[in-house]
Symmetry: C2
Subunit: 205 residues, 2 copies
Amino acid sequence: MIIIFKVAVLISGKGSNLQSIIDRLHIKNNNIEIKCVISNNKDVLGLKRAKDSDICTYTVNDCNYKKSKEYEKEIINIIDGQSIDLIVLAGYMRLLSPYFIDYYYPKIINIHPSLLPSFPGLNAQQQALDYGVKVSGCTVHFVDKGVDSGPIIKQKAVVVDSNDTVNSLSKRILKDEHKILPEVIKLLSLNKVKLKNRTVIIEER
Amino acid sequence: MIIIFKVAVLISGKGSNLQSIIDRLHIKNNNIEIKCVISNNKDVLGLKRAKDSDICTYTVNDCNYKKSKEYEKEIINIIDGQSIDLIVLAGYMRLLSPYFIDYYYPKIINIHPSLLPSFPGLNAQQQALDYGVKVSGCTVHFVDKGVDSGPIIKQKAVVVDSNDTVNSLSKRILKDEHKILPEVIKLLSLNKVKLKNRTVIIEER
């Protein structure tokens, strides 16, 4: 019997991290399947990328719901209908409520373009440049109720150059995001990620 | 005419970073001279290391001064008597007052065992392990009035292993401290470090 590890990906925009998961993991002998892609914005490139790979897509437009809880219940309906093992936030720009986080913890992961705990929240790359760090990077972490504060699974450092702009730095960090997010999903699918309080142990061997 | 770049090093303990500066820079065709080593604790290994290299040493024991300003004036007397170009805090465990910082800014640098702005203050390596980061490192920065908050000159990332203890991580970070602190002093002596607001530009070429 083949057990498939089922992933839901939440996006808001162009979905380049989604594409890297599709390219590196989706089916391809990995026993990993992206069951659905959910976007809070309609007509974004990420949805097209999913459709091009025959992945189910859903647009749950947050403007259509008066209360955050109703909006999230709609997402929960989609996810629970497909026995999802992991929810991946890949450039999903809407905060999730404690209700949603509690419901799934620790089954939600996020990719963030800084070496957390430095520069949580929006515009992490600009924050890093404004601070003047010489090393930044990216982080994959479990999502808890705080802003980018959950247990860290994997990080990768990126050197900041003197002449970096927010675009050049973001591009270089994004290259590493495309590597470490699929790596973490693969490790999770193989049950090699153990959470001990807030420390994550990777059983790589 | 040879211009010598004159450095004062402030320490509190064993002075391994002091030793790396002595070994890599002191005299040796670098036109850099450690003119004095000042410790707030007597009989520490760092003072012996300085004496072994014929560097003047001073112990200014903070317990002997009722007011921080009197203590710091004593240090200023020593430093100003020797036309010092740069003050290096190398494991100096006493906070300096805004009075002292203002007096010398931006001529004081510090080495800190984390990738700032993550984990400022004491026990940075333990803080990093407690948080569960997968990448830490070290930072050389100009000292401003905050705690480890000044403009960053150089940083080096260090991978954190799943089985790291505070000792094993500290040792690995210390190896890189021993590299980047002398590198920064050398760059400063060559006037290749430019401060633009809080961003540091290194003119490496």
